[in-house]
């Protein structure tokens, strides 16, 4: 059974290419446009990975991560943070909040593959 990934970003084009690339790699991909939609999806369904943007309307990425990591059902789920802020302080904050991997925009496919490898091991 293929792994399920939730991609959360308010930027349509980013969701689009991530969807294409992850599908090609054989993952099942779901999308959400903001934090609130993301939480709805996460509560409805179980996911193997969360790829989440930080700066989003309604509920930002930090809040999503906080809720995920404080929920006993979801806290084992790995989280990759996507952010356009490439400052060190943001990266540290990302790890502190419980993110498992941190990717700054813009990133290439190789960086994405590396991140997935880190999360899922040799698979």
């Amino acid at each position: 059974m293929s792994k399920k990934i939730l991609v959360v970003d308010d930027e349509e084009v980013i969701r689009k290419f991530l969807g294409i690339q992850l599908a090609k790699l054989g993952y099942e991909v779901k999308e959400a446009v903001d934090g609130e939609q993301a939480m709805e999806q996460l509560r409805k369904d179980a996911f193997d990975l969360l790829i989440c943007d930080i700066a989003m309307p309604k509920k930002d990425g930090w809040e999503v991560i906080k809720e995920v990591k404080s929920d006993p059902k979801m806290k084992e789920m790995p989280v990759i943070v996507l952010t356009a802020k490439n400052e060190d302080s943001d990266m540290f904050k990302g790890y502190d909040e419980g993110a498992n991997y941190y990717m700054t925009k813009p990133f290439t496919k190789d960086q994405l593959l590396y991140g997935l490898k880190m999360m899922f091991g040799e698979n």
Binding site: E11, I14, F17, Q21, A55, A84, P106, T108
Partner: protein
């Protein structure tokens, strides 16, 4: 003046006696009285006058004028009485005037009484020898003897009283003058001869010299002076002897304790009858010298301060005439002091024929109030800040004006630099926001391009390329927005600026950098015309204020109101937020440089200071109202651009 308390009583008594004697002379002269009616009237008048005197106050009798008047009346009455007793007229008048002469000569009452008695006796003896005392008319002759005596006593008393009073007055006035002499503040020495011995000194001389009066009186005047100054003193005294008086300044008087005292002398010859005296007035200059020294010192200090100030200071008359300048002025003008003094300031400094426009000195001359202005004169390549302060006299009239000229060229340059550097800091803050904005479409471009590259089905690529183009265009928009801010960093000349346009642009810029969907922006722009300014600087003002407003509403949300309106002479811009507000204790500091409540790295503390500097540079004002947790309103007002400027 000592008054005789019994004078009234004595005069009344003497008059009663005179009345009795006069009446007797008239009525008992064996019917020789020429006019009986007149005689009655006279006696009645005499008695009546004396009764009247009884009711007059005592003080009247001390009045010399009243006294003289009384003597005149009495002499008249007695003379008239003698006239009425006709037969006695021949020799008796002579006797009466003899009495008055004796009395008037009398200085001593006792002596006068002796003379009166003697005269009465001689007259009695004469009468007797002429056999008149034993004739039928003897009783009227006999009466003449006491008459002589009583009238002598009467006049004698009057004369003596007057003499005594005169003497008393003299004694008192002499005491007075002695007192004036002794107690004078200046030392007074009396000499008979300028080279000679001291005749008299007052107490001040004793006090000042330390010598007692007795010691001084044994000395010659010349001995009082310092030996080194003997020649000078001698010349001076020679001049005194020749001219009858002279003044001398700064002579040294030798004191008993061996020290010297500086004095001014003024000597004058005073002629009293045959005798001549020299009055020497000595003025102790010790205190004056101390005072002079202090004045000189304070003058020197003031001059040193005046000259020591590195900025240009000048003192000007209310007609711009230069009265005094400090060294900085001389250095700056490269003229000599003499070349500047007396010239009009605008002639001397700038070779102008009229006062400079907006000169603060003209304001001070007009209003008597301090004034200041910044002047950028074409004659000098830079900026001057000129302060002027009035100097008023006791009647509050303008005496002169102090002009203080500070070269602020460097200061203004630094300020420009500060504004530039803050702009750069602002760009830094904006850049991190803009990075985020650019990185999103850039991520899309890279991601989609990779997808397209890997895609075998070329027909799908059209869709991907459309996405890529879309993202690239978004980046282009952002870069265009940045260009308008880069203009802010450039130094531009003044030009007409539409505040509404700049406000709109600034809002876009900030919104690019700070994405806040929770903030509702309300724009309320009215047509307000243009002001003359540097558009970049005005944009910086708005960007700083709008950024602050967004930051204040961080995590809270609310409304941002940007409004503009036109008032009578002003245009007004308001930036209103519903943010956290400014604590009351900080509100007075927010425009101070380096004051910040933000964390390090988030703000330089220069933002509002720069805002303030830029606004005041264009003669505008900025005010702030704030309530914690309710919001903040910044109100900016600029003067409207004058027509034609």
């Amino acid at each position: 003046m000592k008054k005789d308390p019994n004078r009234k009583k004595v005069i009344l008594l003497l008059r009663w006696t005179a009345i009795i004697v006069t009446s007797y002379l008239i009525f008992f002269s064996k019917g020789r009285v020429t006019d009986l009616h007149l005689s009655h009237l006279l006696i009645f008048g005499y008695i009546f006058s004396n009764l009247l005197l009884t009711f007059l106050p005592k003080t009247w009798f001390s009045n010399p004028k009243f006294f003289f008047f009384l003597v005149l009346i009495d002499t008249g009455i007695v003379s008239f009485g003698l006239y009425l007793s006709e037969k006695m007229a021949t020799d008796f008048f002579i006797v009466f005037f003899l009495i008055i002469i004796f009395a008037s000569m009398g200085r001593n009452f006792k002596l006068l009484m002796v003379i009166g008695g003697l005269t009465a006796f001689i007259y009695g003896a004469l009468l007797y020898s002429w056999g008149l005392l034993i004739s039928a008319e003897s009783s009227s002759y006999v009466l003449r003897i006491p008459f002589i005596f009583i009238m002598t006593a009467f006049y004698g008393y009057i004369v003596q009283t007057l003499t005594q009073e005169k003497h008393q007055e003299l004694t008192i006035s002499e005491d007075k003058y002695r007192g004036l002499f002794e107690n004078a503040n200046e030392g007074i020495i009396i000499l008979r001869n300028p080279r000679g011995q001291i005749a008299d000194v007052n107490r001040e001389v004793e006090r000042a010299s330390g010598y007692a009066k007795e010691e001084l009186l044994q000395n010659e005047f010349l001995d009082l002076f310092a030996p080194e100054e003997i020649e000078k003193t001698r010349d001076y005294l020679k001049e005194v002897a020749e001219k009858g008086g002279a003044r001398a300044d700064y002579l040294s008087l030798k004191k008993k304790d061996g020290t010297f005292m500086e004095v001014d002398l003024s000597i004058k010859r005073i002629d009293l009858g045959d005798e001549s005296f020299y009055q020497v007035i000595i003025r102790d200059l010790t205190n004056q010298r101390k005072l002079e020294k202090r004045i000189r010192e304070s003058k020197r200090n003031l001059e040193a301060i005046f000259d020591g100030i590195g900025d240009q200071l000048s003192l000007q008359a209310p007609n711009y005439e230069i009265l005094r300048v400090n060294k900085a002025v001389i250095k700056n003008c490269q003229r000599t002091y003499q070349e500047l003094i007396g010239k009009k300031c605008y002639e001397a400094y700038y070779q102008r024929s009229l006062p400079c426009e907006r000169c603060p000195v003209s304001v001070t001359i007009e209003t008597k109030q301090p004034a200041s202005s910044i002047m950028k004169l074409p004659e000098i390549n830079g900026a001057l800040q000129i302060f002027s302060y009035p100097i008023l006299d006791e009647k509050e009239n303008l005496n002169s004006v102090i002009e203080y000229v500070k070269d602020i060229t460097e200061e203004q340059r630094l300020q420009e630099q500060l504004i530039q550097s803050e702009k750069l800091a602002g760009i830094g803050i904006l850049a991190s926001g803009i990075t985020h904005e650019i990185n999103n479409p850039l991520t899309g471009i890279i991601g989609m391009a990779e997808v397209a590259l890997e895609e075998e089905d070329v027909s799908k690529n059209k869709d991907y390329l459309g996405d890529i183009l879309n993202c690239a265009q978004r980046i282009g928009e952002i870069v265009k927005g940045l260009k308008s801010y880069s203009r802010a960093a450039k130094r531009e000349d003044l030009s007409p600026v539409n505040l509404n346009e700049v406000l709109e642009e600034s809002l876009k810029m900030v919104q690019l950098a700070i994405k806040k969907d929770t903030v509702e922006v309300i724009k309320n722009f009215q047509p307000i015309g243009k002001i003359r300014a540097n558009a970049g600087e005005i944009q910086q003002v708005f960007i700083n204020l709008i950024t602050n407003a967004f930051q204040a509403m961080d995590g809270k949300g609310g409304k941002l109101v940007l409004s503009t309106r036109s008032l009578r002479d002003l245009v007004e811009v308001k930036v209103i937020d519903e943010g956290m507000g400014i604590p009351q204790k900080c509100i007075n500091q927010i425009f101070d440089p380096f004051f910040t409540t933000k964390k390090p790295g988030e703000g330089t503390g220069l933002g509002l200071n720069i805002v303030y500097r830029i606004i005041t540079k264009y003669e505008g004002t900025i005010t702030v109202e704030s309530k914690e947790n309710m919001g903040t309103t910044f109100t900016i007002q600029f003067p409207k651009r004058r027509e034609g400027s």
